[in-house]
Subunit: 248 residues, 2 copies
């Protein structure tokens, strides 16, 4: 196994950091790594906003309801972004708004942004830094968007805290490989599927039991059903459509 | 610079492969790497379908209109997938269809799938393999979905070819770092932005000129305006809604 794969397999979200700061040079390398990811038809449909001042981190912590954000050295906000493309088209007297509004370009924007973000994550982790994604920025997406001054065709998708880890838990066990990976065709044999999920429930329970000295024994299936029975962030459709995305 | 960052910065899409096969063990490591990526609230909302037989590759090549697919050792199809969650909820007599239909969960599905895919890409490249993403599978998304036998709440987002590279071009230059990376707030100063894009047009022209011995001098801004003025894959909304995504 090479060191890159070791870094990847060793991933866990880090929410506790030491006071050691992440440098501007490290952030620059992380952004270069992000930019090196594949991009759909070379479109590079994203921007990244870096926050290092205490007030900015406090705001993001409040809006995202993630208190740990205040204690990270850096926060990056990853945004799907077609603003620059819109500007270029306008300068040529052309309109591309109809295309940008399509579900297809919404998919492209999210995909491009996420490819870049995961490169940033791996690059940071390869330097010994810890990261945690913040889907929580969508808890108050309007406020975050206003605070960052995002123009039309720019939406904040998720954040990422970065810092030196003060806490290294074990990586969380994932679904059985052959549940997620199918050969040739999708294998939705309900019996096989259900048995794999039962096996995984036991794996996850043991993980929590060991980690909490027996206090917690959550099953993944209960966690998922509980989480997914709650309607959250139901304003997302209006927000993204208001920014010119996902309308047609 | 460490070897992981070197691998990341050295990325270019590979569309020509040698005949050397990628082994099942390599694919297994690549899938483990994919599964190690962060996942929104531990939801693991994706599946990966691996294709190695000639007929399967031929089908994907036809549907995606990417002839190079036939010559890759392996093809992976990355799908956003809430089918297993739906099954778990059904088994408990609960319904989560309303939540799964939200724009929020559409974002979660695309993000989770893409984080996993980019880990797969980096893992493959770290082993000396080359990869190319296939957004083209969305050219015939209905046919691909039928061919793979995808149930409700599963949508194919993109593919990835994997093989030993027969051709190593130079990495393509990316947008200026400070055009994509903003500090503190989004900087949409139109003059600065426009100048950065002009500078980048020259960079991209030089890249193509060198690569094609002067035959091609495309400017990025022309490529983008031309591509984005064409409405493509406008059936995406109906398709994803038909699969139970992105309705509310």
């Amino acid at each position: 196994m090479n060191t890159t794969i070791e870094t990847i397999l060793n991933h866990r979200s880090i929410r506790k950091y030491t006071d050691e700061p992440v440098s501007d040079e490290q952030i620059e390398t992380i952004i270069q790594a992000a930019q090196s990811a594949s991009t759909s038809s070379f479109v590079q449909a994203y921007s990244i906003i870096g926050i290092k001042d205490d007030e900015g981190k406090k705001k993001i912590a409040e809006f995202s309801k993630n208190t740990h954000v205040e204690h990270a050295s850096r926060v990056l906000i990853f945004c799907a972004d077609f603003y620059r493309h819109e500007l270029l088209a306008e300068n040529k007297g052309e309109s591309i708004a109809d295309t940008l509004e399509s579900t297809e370009k919404f998919i492209v924007g999210i995909t491009d942004t996420t490819l870049a973000a995961q490169n940033a994550a791996i690059a940071a982790e390869s330097m010994g830094l810890g990261i945690c994604y913040l889907g929580g920025i969508r808890n108050n997406i309007e406020s975050i968007s206003d605070y960052l001054g995002l123009p039309s065709h720019v939406i904040p998708l998720f954040g990422m805290t970065i810092g030196y880890p003060a806490d290294l838990s074990n990586p969380k066990p994932r679904l059985p490989l052959h549940h997620v990976y199918h050969e040739g065709k999708y294998n939705s044999n309900v019996e096989v599927y259900t048995n794999q999920l039962k096996e995984y429930d036991e794996t996850v329970s043991s993980y929590y039991e060991t980690r909490t000295s027996g206090e917690r024994q959550d099953r993944w299936s209960d966690q998922m059903t509980s989480m997914l029975s709650k309607q959250v962030r139901m304003n997302m459709k209006d927000f993204v459509q208001g920014k010119g995305f996902n309308k047609s």
